[in-house]
Every structure is written in structure tokens, then in C-alpha cells.
Symmetry: C3
Subunit: 248 residues, 3 copies
């Protein structure tokens, strides 16, 4: 059993954050709220998703686990406005979504149709940076002009993005006073950086771009972690992205 | 001989209403006004079109019948503003369109290049519904999320659209107080519905969507009739759409 | 050595004007300013470009000649706002572009990768017309509805564009009072016209469309010259377009 009511805005943003990484997701409908952990088919990127029961107008559950067709949900939710209250209900193997005069019933997917839940790798980042979502999105776009790979790095006081193409290069540098926060968590001060796929960063920046604050954890050739709140602080999304090898 | 002047708005809307069903149309330029009846190449849909001579700024004719390349006219009319007065004249086998500093001359098509005028089937609908064009357009879009077929139906007091996909379904229900009008013309009260192709309904909703009032006549497995006024009530467009078989 | 600072607006407009004709351009960085003369690969169209050193915020040069990848520059300049001051510097075989927190370095092209500078043909036009860029753009678009060729012509007092398709035609006529200026430079009064490729005129109209005044020199079966100022009168772009043969 699962019955809930949720603001269009929250459901739209939540579904979008997941679709950045996966088209179909295993989602836990727990007593405390909804949570999910899904890896993209190539296991290069992962999303961790939490949405507290407090984010819902109403929330009743028997601890269900469902496999959702996120792309179909997103397509249907295009018709809902951000201020609509959307009713969600589990009904055997179907999910009912109702808003306005409309009622949709969509099939749940087989739990065997998608990959197992990935393990979250243990990472000890060297630096922690906080910037606006808008700045993050802009920087990723700027890097994409010259290369398919972007390095994200940090000195003691500066955060930077670098892209090296075959013949061209780009560097964006943001110093302490242009950032919401920057700190070294490893107690060191020499430059650290890791190289990532532009493709995934571009996808992530779609969801990240709306957040007022984005937390970025970086180190030397380790996975990148990009996290942000949504649903007025009642939801949290974290993306993990494996580094590429090949640049020092 | 045919010479007329007409507001850009009226000519644009009229041509668009016809292009929903056909790219080329046989059009009568009669003493009372312009009228046309054309079926789409598959004979699934038909348009009936009337535009009174009153809708024109000037109107002189010798009862001509012409075959028009509507797509070319629509392309040219993109350059005219809705407030332009457009001069139309027949000149041998050509149609002249003038507005602003521009003069276009386009060839008439051979009357043998298109299908004969279709007969209008006699239909006795079971219910008559009036809704806004905007609501009609929105409902068709909503149904398209899950299926290529839409059922339109009526009970005694409610109008509904239903779409049944392979695994998903959608239902939109509008009750008496959400409709401009709903009435049973067969004196009965049990539910009636017919199934239609989404593709044609989507096309129709482009022209229908602008109308303030849309009249819908429906019954049990009979053609759908969708009618609306334009040109301040001096024009009328009716679409007839054959039902699909396969759903009870 | 070349070091300069320039307003985003000026650099964007200048690069765009060149890309109408070529993707890669040989550009002279002279003491008095920047100039270039490049033909399209088919030698049907040519651009002459001048931008005075006065148009720059700062300008220092050792008389360099560079071959630029204009498409890449245009792509990067999308990120600059029109009010940004952009720093440009030559650094060995690379061009550095800096604005905001961003620094791009792009490779210069080999001078052997593009065609030689074209000679400017001597042309004695029969008429000189001045219209707004907006009107020029609109007229070219209107002609494109019926044909891939447009004739531009002039009588004693009128400027006209004509398009003759296989079955359709278009004529746009602008008389003396609708033009900024019209005069016969050959002292004659009979109609002259030349036929041109729509494709090139459409491309040109993108850059021309922003100019408040566009000077057009036309004659009988001779190249068309279309010129306009930019950068507050400190820059000038002229396009030359060879006529097509086949229409009297």
C-alpha cells in the first residue's frame, strides 16, 4: 500500500533529478520517506536520492519497493503545473497519478528489468567547494566549447575548471570571494584535480542548475560528488561521477 | 472573375482550418460566399468550410470553382500580419495575392489533381457537448501521452476522453459544471463512446484550439463531428472523423 | 605581437559578418586596424571587412596576418555578453580570448589551409539604393517563398525585387518615398536588373538585417554590392555577389 499527495513542483524536480542518470529506477517507499540509489548503465555515474515524508502533503506507506518508468512519468508530468497537487497511489502492479480532471494509470516495471543497486564507493575528498547552480551550469557549458573532458580542481583558495582539446584550451578560475565556500579537507594546499566526462556533467548541470547552492567534493583522480537540496530542504540529490584517466 | 479583399486574420485562419485535412482543396467562390468540402486522402476525415461574403471587405465573383495549393498559400501568408488587408484576384489560371508592397501570383491546380468532393454521411449523434477550444486541445494532448487512440464519450451529465495504451491508461472527465453545455440528443442516459485516431485529433486541435466554443457531436461507434465558428461568426468549420473499431 | 581589448558587441558582430561568407578567414592586424578580404569556396561571393583601431578599447600590433577559425570563435563568443570587454592576444601560434573568469586559447590555422585573397572586380553600377537592414531582410525572405533566384533591379525612382518560380511569381516594389535613398549613377532611366542566388542573399541578410542603413549597388547583369557600417561607424562590411545568368 502506498498513497500520497505531493506538490507538482516537488514531484517534477524529483523525477527530473533521477532521469539525469537513469530512465528506469528502483525506488524505496519507506516510512520516513522515499529514497533511491541508481547507477547509469555504464556504472560511470550514480545518483543518491532522498525525499522526506515531510515533503508530501499526505504520505501513507507499507514500505514498498517499486521500479518506475521515469521517462513516462516525466512525459505525463509535463501536463501538471508546479502548483497542482498530485495524488499518487499504488494499485496492484500499477501506479495511479491524478491531477486536475486527469487520471493516469501506468504499469510498474519488473524489478528484474534493471541493474542491482550500486555500492557507494568510499571517497576521501581533498577539497570542498560551494557555488551557485547557475555558475556550475555556465562553467560546464563554457568547457564544452573546446573538449569532451573537463578537469575540476582546487588550490588552497581557488576552484577551477579546465578543458584541453586537441588544439584549444579553456580555463575558468573562481577565487575565494567568488565562491560561496571553499576549504581544503585534507589539510594540504597543493593543487588537486580530476578529469571527467563532459557528457555526464552537462546532463547533471540541467538539474543542478536550478539549485541555489551546490556542494562539490573533489580530489586527485577520485570520483566527483555534486550535491544539492530541493523541496525546500526536504529532499537531497547527490551525483557521483567516476574520474577519467589520462591527464595529470 | 473573382476579386476580393479580406483581413489577414480571416484568410490565415480559414486557410489553416482547411490544411488540417488537405494540402490542396477544391473551393467554391459563390455569390453568398466561399464554401468547400474536402476529404483527406484516406477518407478518414472530412472538412466542411463556409465563409460568408460578409466576412470580406470587398467581394465580387462570377461563381468560380478553383483548386488551391493551400500549403503554398499558408507559406506566403506567414508574411502577412493579421491586420493587413489582403487583395485576392483570379487572373486566368493564376491567383494573385497582394498585401503591403508585395504581390504574389500562384498557379491554380488542375481540378483533376484532387479527389472528388465527398458525400457527407448521415449521422444521428447521441450527445452534444460544448467546451472551449483550449480545453479540447489540452485533453487531446493529455490522451496522447499513453496511446494512439482516444475514445470520446458521454454519460447523461459528463463528457470524457479515454486512452488505453498497452500497459497504461488515461481518463479525463469533465462534468456538467465544467462544460459550456452537455445534452443527450437521443433521450437516453447510458454511456456512449467511439474510438478515434489520435493523429487526426491532434491535427484538428491546432485549429480548434483557437475557438472560444467548440461543438462536439458524439455517439456509439459513429463519426465524430467537431464544429466551431471563426471570422466573428461569419465563418464555420466542421470536421467529421470516422471512428476506429476495436474497443467496446 | 598583437594585444587588444574590444567590446563583446563589436567582436561578435564583426565575426558574424565574416562567417556569412567563410568559416575560416585570413585577417590582417595592421597599424590602422583590422582588415580582411575573403571569397567563399565557390568564388560566387566575397566579403570586404574593415575595423578601425578606434573601435578597440586598446590596440597594439606588429602588423600580423593570421588565419582564424571563425566558427570556433563564434561558438566561444556565444558565452560573452555584448557589454563584456574581451581581451585578445597572439601567443605564438595561438590566439587567447579572455572575458569574465574565462580564458580560452585556440589554435591559429595554417595560412595554406585557405584560398588566396580574391581580387575585387571592377564594377560600374547603374543605380544606388539605400534601405533599412530590416526591410532588406524581409524582402529576401518574401522572395524565397517562390524561387531560389531573386532579381534585384531599379528604375528611375523605384527599387524592386522579383522572384520567378516554375509556376509562381513574386514582386516587391519600393518607391522613392519608401527608400532612404535611390539614384541612378549611370545617368539613364530604363530598368536595370540582375539575378542572384537566394541562398547567399539569405545568408547575407542575417548580418545586414541589423544595420540601420544598407547601401545597395546594382546594374544590368553585374555583381551586386551590399554594404553597411557597424561598430558605431568604425567598421564597414561589403559583400559582393556574382550575378546568375538566365533571365533577361
Amino acid at each position: 500500500m502506498f498513497k500520497a499527495e505531493i506538490l507538482g513542483e516537488t514531484l517534477k524536480d524529483g523525477v527530473e533529478a533521477l532521469t539525469i542518470i537513469v530512465d528506469e529506477a528502483r525506488v524505496h517507499l519507506g516510512k520516513e520517506g522515499v529514497y533511491a540509489r541508481n547507477a547509469d548503465p555504464s556504472y560511470v555515474a550514480m545518483v543518491q536520492f532522498e525525499l522526506s515524508a515531510k515533503a508530501f502533503e499526505n504520505y501513507e506507506t507499507d514500505e514498498e519497493v517499486v521500479t518506475l518508468d521515469l521517462k513516462k512519468m516525466q512525459d505525463i508530468l509535463e501536463l501538471a503545473s508546479r502548483t497542482d497537487v498530485i495524488k499518487i497511489a499504488l494499485d496492484e502492479n500499477r501506479l495511479a497519478l491524478s491531477f486536475g480532471d486527469l487520471k493516469y494509470t501506468i504499469a510498474l516495471l519488473s524489478p528484474y528489468s534493471i541493474k542491482k543497486e550500486p555500492k557507494v564507493p568510499k571517497v576521501e575528498p581533498a577539497a570542498h567547494v560551494v557555488i551557485t547552480g547557475k555558475e556550475f551550469r555556465w562553467a560546464v557549458k563554457a568547457a564544452g566549447k573546446v573538449s569532451d573532458n573537463i578537469a575540476l580542481g582546487c588550490t588552497n583558495t581557488d576552484f577551477f575548471m579546465e578543458a584541453l582539446g586537441d588544439s584549444d584550451s579553456m580555463r575558468l578560475e573562481l577565487s575565494k570571494d567568488q565562491l560561496i565556500d571553499v576549504s581544503r579537507t585534507d589539510g594540504k594546499s597543493e593543487e588537486v584535480k580530476s578529469l571527467f566526462s563532459l557528457e555526464f556533467l552537462l546532463e547533471m548541470s540541467k538539474a543542478v542548475g536550478k539549485a541555489s547552492e551546490v556542494a562539490i567534493d573533489i580530489g586527485k583522480n577520485i570520483p566527483l560528488k555534486v550535491g544539492f537540496d530541493f523541496a525546500d530542504g526536504n529532499g537531497r540529490v547527490s551525483y557521483l561521477l567516476a574520474p577519467r584517466i589520462g591527464q595529470e
